[in-house]
Symmetry: C2
């Protein structure tokens, strides 16, 4: 058995754990902690110090116990990640009674907000994993904004993925422009300065972008492009299929 297979297996287990309903029977001592409490602690650590500071030890310390005690609640590290992600995602944002374009924008903006609150979710979401109830609820809500659209199922999924990808990219950028990560941007800048003749377009693009200040419309720019593209497709299909007015 390869390690790769082990990893895959552990991710499946993590999913099973995430979807397991709470068992009611309790023939034993009262649990001293709760899954939610553990998730909260882990999330707090991740928010404060980053995802890879989240270790069984740290979480346990924060709860005032030892790491091995946690294994009574969480089968392993993978499962901890899973509940962290699903907890942090929370309930999806839904904008009722608006057109698909506004609804989809609101949905994606909601994803953005959530991800900005917990920048580490980017890492977890973009890691191979089975979605939990919360993540699926987001998906469901996103699909809900598109019921009217003449798109195939796969296309709708692709569209959501595209929007999520865009949001996550931006969160990553924003996050890494914070201290102390801004050294990253700084090092890139110095590299570009040194080899401006090797990468002229890149250098000038970045310079130009800096002049614009920290454009907060990058998010909107991406949405607009994608949704314009969708609108074009919808117009085309609407014209050819239903009622050419």
């Amino acid at each position: 058995m390869t390690e790769g297979e082990v990893d895959a297996a552990s991710r499946v287990e993590a999913a099973a754990f995430l979807w397991a309903q709470p068992s009611g029977r309790k023939p034993g001592p009262k649990p001293r902690y709760t899954l939610d409490g553990i998730a909260e602690a882990a999330i707090a650590i991740a928010d404060e110090s980053g995802l890879d500071e989240v270790t069984m030890q740290r979480v346990a310390e924060r709860l005032g116990t030892t790491k091995m005690a946690l294994y009574r609640y969480v089968p392993g590290r993978a499962e901890l990640d899973a509940i962290m992600l699903d907890t942090a995602l929370g309930a999806p944002v839904v904008a009722e009674g608006v057109q698909w374009r506004a609804a989809l924008t609101a949905w994606a903006a909601g994803v953005h907000t959530r991800a900005m609150t917990h920048p580490w979710v980017v890492e977890l979401v973009q890691r191979p994993h089975t979605p939990g109830p919360g993540e699926l609820a987001w998906f469901e809500a996103g699909l809900g904004t598109m019921v009217e659209l003449p798109l195939r199922g796969g296309e709708k999924l692709d569209l959501l993925t595209l929007l999520v990808g865009h949001v996550m990219s931006l969160v990553r950028q924003r996050d890494s422009s914070r201290a102390p990560e801004q050294q990253l941007a700084a090092s890139l800048a110095s590299i570009l300065a040194t080899r401006a003749e090797l990468y002229p377009r890149t250098a000038s693009a970045f310079a130009e972008a800096d002049d614009d200040g920290a454009r907060d419309d990058a998010l909107r720019f991406g949405f607009e492009r994608v949704l314009d593209g969708v609108a074009a497709l919808v117009a085309e299909r609407g014209a050819s299929s239903s009622s050419p007015s």
Copy 2:
């Protein structure tokens, strides 16, 4: 000093290492290995068994030495990731003498090809890091396809990021639908089957997508949407700037 800061610092060091030019002086024993050889070995391991099987130990074993010997060539794990990524990316694809739309599509398709060859680059690219020479060359080439477009620098960068994000999402999907990761998809399917009433739209969207077979046009679908959106913007700006009616 927080660990988070340490991480950031190590990434900056990784960048410096990546951009360092080979020093010529050699007052000592001949190096028995080369950076390229090490990178190759690491890449081979990642290709065969996945990224997290790439450990100093494994790489050393593959080269027939011990891990500590490697530290003479590579300052640390972060730097190993950096050279793996930059080596695997290789030289950018450029389509000369075609319109921006075709050129940009070809560029993105090139990214897709490279990423499919080494699925683990997705993980590395989407991790916070300073780009190496290879990655920057890709960026430069991508920007090169857009010289004619009436877009601001920041917008061009956003556009490339958007396309890359889309490509990476798809690579991830393809990759995780391979054995043994396909259990992931399988577990999602069984979840959806069980709770179809909770996630009706998601369930039907996936069912529909499966009916379409493994649509290989997901990539193209995303490109089309985005580029249609860009075309719309270009048309608008072209009209208002050159010949205002």
